[in-house]
Symmetry: C2
Subunit: 101 residues, 2 copies
Amino acid sequence: MEPHEPDLTAVPVTAVLAALADDVRLQIVRALAEGGEAACGSFDFGVSKATRSHHLKVLREAGLTRTRAAGTSRLVRLRRDELNRLYPGLLDAVLTSRPPA
Amino acid sequence: MEPHEPDLTAVPVTAVLAALADDVRLQIVRALAEGGEAACGSFDFGVSKATRSHHLKVLREAGLTRTRAAGTSRLVRLRRDELNRLYPGLLDAVLTSRPPA
DNA sequence: GAGCTTGTTCGACCTTTGTCGAACAACGGT
DNA sequence: ACCGTTGTTCGACAAAGGTCGAACAAGCTC
């Protein structure tokens, strides 16, 4: 089953923004930005694995991440270059924002 | 009644992003970016005035706009400088994105 | 003050979305 | 072949959010 990773230009801006407009997903994106490629299981932010899987799907379908299988795990990584090319400054603006005091 | 225009630093990033993650609101922001200050009524994007008022409230409470009374109207403007200072690149990234084909 | 214009607020409604547990699927190791 | 690990999918549920019409408020003009 292909993981359905759309062309970023085909994703409406509102969908990209909506994908980033969630605390859990933002934490995932931050983790990916810092640590590079990571397995789904490494994002343990106090939600069930069903919920985590859901959030990763949202990020993937918004064109923010790519996923590849690796044994029993799936490795996720940020599509930084494409993102920065299409929305220069967006990622940085979001990532450098202080965590909610 | 004060219109409750929060300090941008007090607004969680997710709230800012969520405010921008809507088609109607994005159109409003684009219009404000192009035309500068404008009356609420000038944003006729196929929604009722109740809905329009709702969206303007969301934008205001997310720290994206300022509103001032002017006779029977209310003039709205983008908080560009603050936005660009706190989230450099965000606004540009969102505004320069092509409209949904 | 009557009436018009401009916005806001108030339910109400319906869709979307975040969350979970449970069931399922794929893979690796023993 | 079996089991454990890792993710995904499937309802189900609750909360959030966009939408509307109607009622209300404030201000201008005649």
